[in-house]
Symmetry: C2
Subunit: 248 residues, 2 copies
């Protein structure tokens, strides 16, 4: 998006707002420190001003011929190699001063990806994807990272976490993070990661069985040493088409 | 927002997307046909192309120095004389072909206003406000109006109705449409208007009393002929600050 050359602050302020699309992408990963799973997200290091060298959400200006959701999916593919199975519009952030150079309104999407979609490396905090040193995964509650993000991206991530924690249909979130079939223990791992605390397994199973949006299947998880646990599936209400845009 | 003079379709298509803000505003009003209250909303007749002469949601281009919520509030004040007490961001609509002349991305807000905020006239379908014949209130389910709206505004209104009907915290919606204190019969009227069907009063009272987000007060509605009904208040969780932007 071109700027008027030599435009001063007042002139820039009178340009039409620029429109950008960014995406918050959450995945569950094992956390060696807590022994639980936790939420991680990929960030991109900015290579130009403003905020050059700082980490930011994947995103960029909306092209004239990109739909919003296609722009969000393309950002993700370009920066992380991931094709999200599920993208939802989170919020449009449009405060006047969120970019120091010119007015930018960012329409933010968020994605929940399954664990096996999110690449792992041995050094989680600096895991390098696509041989690009400017892309890395971080814990979603890593204060040292959150404190130094570009723009208002800390506020955006914290709002996404708030939405995740306050979403009523946890079965739906488990479904998206875990896939079609999952054990009750796996759902508990999702809750523990989202809420960032340990939950009592017996109490949790009891509560979950009373929930109306999970149904037991006739299948069991195979491969373990012990009695194989039963697999469940999500039967809750589907979202409005606008709220769960499938990537073609 | 100026267009390049004589730009052909391909050139217009390569301009940066234009950003607009529109608002869906719902109010409860008596409906003489059904004897129930029903949902109404104000629309604005377009005075220029595209869609000249057709009804549309109040809205317009986002000015460089307007915040999103201020733009939504200003649209409403200018077109309907209303100052909404509550505005929430609904969704950003950005399909490539939603405007025939150039790419427009609309960030849509929605508002629930109390009955005493929404002006009444004797002829509801064409009620004229501010002496402006290009503003009128319509029933939210008036098929003859919905079928002829400008742009994708029918889809936007239907999505807003879907959100209203699927919102879990009905206590919160009643609170916003009715004010601080309300009777259980008034809450039932809100449900009936939102769901567009009659509900059994006794069953409804039983269900509502079991809900956790309503609390009885020591006050009673005054002025009626019969035993005055008790007033209740909403005690449910507050929204995230981003989700309930108060108008200053």
């Amino acid at each position: 998006m071109s700027q008027i050359p030599f435009a001063n602050v007042a002139e820039r302020r009178d340009q039409p707002p620029m429109l950008a699309v960014s995406t918050v992408i959450f995945a569950l990963r094992d956390d060696e420190r807590s022994g639980r799973k936790s939420l991680w997200l990929p960030l991109v290091r900015r290579t130009r001003e403003p905020f050059r060298g700082q980490w930011a959400l994947p995103g960029g200006p909306l092209g004239p011929r990109d739909s919003l959701v296609d722009a969000a999916a393309a950002n993700l593919l370009d920066t992380t190699g991931l094709i999200p199975r599920y993208l939802e519009q989170l919020y449009a952030f449009g405060d006047l001063d969120r970019s120091p150079t010119r007015r930018v309104v960012s329409i933010v999407y968020w994605a929940l990806v399954r664990e096996d979609d999110a690449p792992h490396t041995d050094t989680p905090a600096t895991s390098v994807l696509l041989d690009d040193p400017n892309v890395a995964w971080f814990r979603a509650d890593d204060e040292s990272v959150l404190a130094n993000l570009a723009f208002d991206h800390r506020q955006i991530i914290e709002y996404a976490l708030w939405r995740l924690r306050n979403k009523v249909e946890y079965g739906s979130i488990a479904h998206r993070l875990l896939g079609e079939r999952f054990t009750l223990a796996q759902v508990r791992e999702v809750y523990e990661a989202v809420l960032n605390k340990s939950l009592d397994p017996a109490n949790f199973r009891r509560q979950l069985r009373a929930a109306t949006d999970l149904e037991e299947t006739d299948e069991f998880l195979s491969g373990g040493k012990h009695r194989p646990p039963r697999l469940y599936r999500y039967t809750g209400s589907t979202s409005h088409p606008l709220e769960s845009e499938n990537i073609s």
